[in-house]
């Protein structure tokens, strides 16, 4: 059994006795900067709880405050308001070197004047750990990230992926109780990136510590995370599991940001036990679950492109049905992507698997019916 596993088991035992103290808690955290005499709110009030051992992602577009939020957890920025707690302890005023979390920087920030071994040993040296134990732990860590034999290399003599692994090893070797990763794969090409995603996930399972992962790549967040906080403009829009965020986005922003999504707007036509029937144009009707609808209310709903079926004849049954004209067909190998114009001018994207059935082979200019199960569309608040 490796040392790291032993450490994790001890941590897990400690966690179970202390009745699930959350690893990281942000409570009403606000960060304001003064730039050119103007106050800019980078983070506008974030409250969230990250549990021990979780793979937690902060996802959002550029400039939404992900890095700022993470830097407040690490201690590089003082929150303007609110508190940061690590393992139940208020650390709002604790400097970064006294916090038991480690960060993997977006640009790696390796020490350019030290070789791989010295880089990885840096944290242990500062903690005044014995030379023999440093040797053992660094060697073990380099093995985990597959860099054994490269100890004497300088960072600039290594590829991007290798540097990334050094950065990871340099943080993990200290057995922090949480690891913060700020777009650690941002600089890598697609192939290496996917390989590193799998690698990161494996390491996280192996060492079992909390990962807080910042990314603006939604597929990365969806595949790796236990839970995701989708951020926009300094606020958390939705905090849920990847599936939940993908299947039932709670705001128009989340729906638009995650995957491809169609946004349709209609008015409530009638209410039937726990759901509403919306009218879209002359012939379109969309069923949407939920209460609190009022007849004649305008309502926006989302539906994913792969949930829609295209057919040339009007479908029957308890489906949402909207007519339209095919304006574009793009062959994408496994599936076709259709752009369908609705009567009100809105354009709907539909993904249809190839060679499924003959009804789905529509051509440009065809009048078609789009249909989907009511459970695949969600009304969203604006």
């Amino acid at each position: 059994m490796t040392d790291i596993q032993a450490g994790t088991e001890a941590a897990a035992a400690a966690a179970s006795t202390s009745a699930q103290v959350p690893a990281i808690e942000l409570d009403g955290v606000v960060k304001e900067y003064v730039a050119h005499g103007e106050v800019v709110q980078a983070v506008k009030g974030v409250t969230l709880t990250i549990t021990e051992g979780e793979f937690f992602s902060l996802l959002g577009p550029s400039g939404c405050g992900k890095t700022t939020t993470m830097r407040m957890i690490a201690g590089f920025e003082d929150p303007s308001r609110g508190t940061v707690r690590l393992h139940g302890q208020d650390v709002t005023d604790v400097p970064p070197n006294k916090r038991d979390v480690n960060m993997v920087f977006q640009s790696y920030a390796l020490f350019p004047h030290m070789n791989v071994w010295e880089n990885v040993a840096f944290g242990l040296r500062r903690k005044k750990i014995g030379e023999a134990e440093i040797k053992r732990r660094v060697g073990e860590m380099l093995e985990i990230v597959a860099l054994t034999g490269r100890e004497k290399r300088r960072p600039r003599e290594m590829s991007g992926g290798q540097q990334q692994r050094v950065a990871l090893a340099r943080a993990l070797v200290n057995k922090p109780r949480a690891l913060l990763l700020d777009e650690p794969l941002g600089a890598l090409d697609l192939k290496l990136r996917q390989a590193m995603q799998i690698e990161l996930k494996r390491i996280q399972r192996e060492v079992g510590i909390t990962f807080v992962y910042v990314t603006h790549d939604q597929s990365e967040a969806l595949t790796m995370s236990d839970r995701i906080a989708v951020m926009n403009d300094g606020l958390v829009e939705q905090l849920a599991s990847p599936r939940e965020i993908y299947e039932s986005p709670s705001t128009a922003f989340v729906a638009g940001f995650i995957g491809t999504s169609n946004l349709l707007s209609g008015t409530v036509d009638r209410i039937v036990s726990g759901s509403a029937v919306l009218r879209l144009g002359q012939e379109g009707r969309v069923l949407v679950a939920g209460d609190g609808f009022q007849v004649a209310d305008p309502v926006a709903v989302t539906v994913r492109p792969e949930k829609i079926t295209i057919s040339t004849e009007e479908p029957t049954g308890d489906l949402s049905v909207v007519p339209g004209i095919v304006s574009e067909v793009v062959y994408l190998g496994l599936y076709n992507s259709y752009a369908v114009s609705l009567a009100d001018g809105a354009e709907v994207t539909v993904f249809q698997q190839n060679a499924l059935d003959s009804t789905s082979t529509a051509e440009r200019g065809d009048a078609v019916w789009l249909s989907w199960q009511p459970r695949h569309s969600y009304a969203i608040g604006s």
Binding site: A74, F76, P95, P96, N97, K98, N102, M103, F105, S107, A109, L110, F111, P112, H113, M114, N115, E118, F122, G123, R126, K127, R170, A171, N174
Partner: protein, 283 residues
């Protein structure tokens, strides 16, 4: 043609050096071994003994120059490093203004600046006479004509050459790397000694090269601010040449000084080369 292109790039500079550095040096080397005087002219006799004689005669001034240069270099580092650090890390958007301020003295003639120090620091000058009249310093206290005045002048005149390379090195230190050190449990002081300082040493190294050589060879500061006890080798060369018209001795002294400094610099570079320093600092 293609392969010649790189050499074409160094052609103008190379020619410049050849004409204005190598030619005079060859000429001076030839002068150094000639014998004679200004009135009757000098004749080439390959008299190499002038080197030994000059070295023996002006040993004191040689050693003094090296000593002054060394002390002034150390003082310069002590003054320049914090200043460069402050500009690089705390200068904010006004960095270039501060750098301009550092360079401001260069807009005034070197000699004029040094002469103005002479007025300021004179025994009954603006600084000392009020201090003497209120009895804060004894009546026979003086600043000029002391070792301190000469070294002070050297430091003052060459400080920007120390500040600039250190500033450039510090400016290139990625702030994320400093944060990474703090994240890995280094207190502020450790983050400085383990990361910032080693990464800025190449700048200190360059600053030393740029100041030690001209300070050791300087004659203006010793000439204006110093007394007979502070004569540096530069002053001797100047006197031999312009006053005594002993061209061979002046040339021999110049070459000896040059050789000594080249040897010193090479030894310094070898011992404290960038790689060695970084290697040591990594631990």
């Amino acid at each position: 043609m293609k392969r010649l292109a790189p050499y074409l790039l160094i052609l103008p500079g190379g020619l410049w050096l050849a004409i204005f550095l190598v030619v005079p040096m060859v000429f001076m080397a030839s002068v150094s071994t000639q014998e004679g005087d200004v009135v009757n002219g000098f004749v080439q006799t390959f008299n190499f003994s002038v080197y030994g004689d000059a070295l023996v005669q002006y040993r004191t001034q040689f050693l003094r120059s090296a000593g002054y240069g060394l002390v002034a270099t150390v003082v310069s580092i002590a003054l320049a490093y914090p200043m460069a650090y402050w500009i690089a890390f705390k200068g904010g958007p006004r960095k270039s203004t501060y750098l301009l301020l550092v360079l401001l003295p260069f807009f005034v003639s070197f000699v004029l600046r040094t002469v103005s120090w002479k007025f300021l620091l004179a025994d009954d000058g603006m600084l000392l006479s009020p201090l003497k009249s209120i009895g804060l310093v004894p009546g026979d206290f003086h600043v000029l004509q002391t070792t301190a005045a000469v070294i002070g002048g050297l430091v003052y005149n060459y400080l920007p050459f120390m500040i600039l390379p250190i500033y450039v090195a510090l400016e290139r230190v990625d702030p994320r790397v400093v944060e990474a050190a703090q994240d890995l449990y280094a207190a502020r002081r450790e983050a400085f000694t383990k990361v910032v300082l080693p990464l800025s040493l190449p700048g200190v190294f360059a600053g030393v090269l740029m100041t030690f050589v001209p300070m050791t060879a300087d004659y203006v500061n010793a000439g204006i601010l110093g007394g007979p006890e502070n004569t540096m080798i530069g002053n001797i060369i100047q006197t031999e040449y312009l006053v005594n018209n002993d061209y061979p001795t002046a040339a021999a002294l110049s070459f000896t000084l040059m050789a000594a400094m080249l040897v010193g610099i090479f030894a310094y570079a070898k011992a404290l080369g960038t790689e060695n320093v970084l290697e040591a600092a990594a631990r």
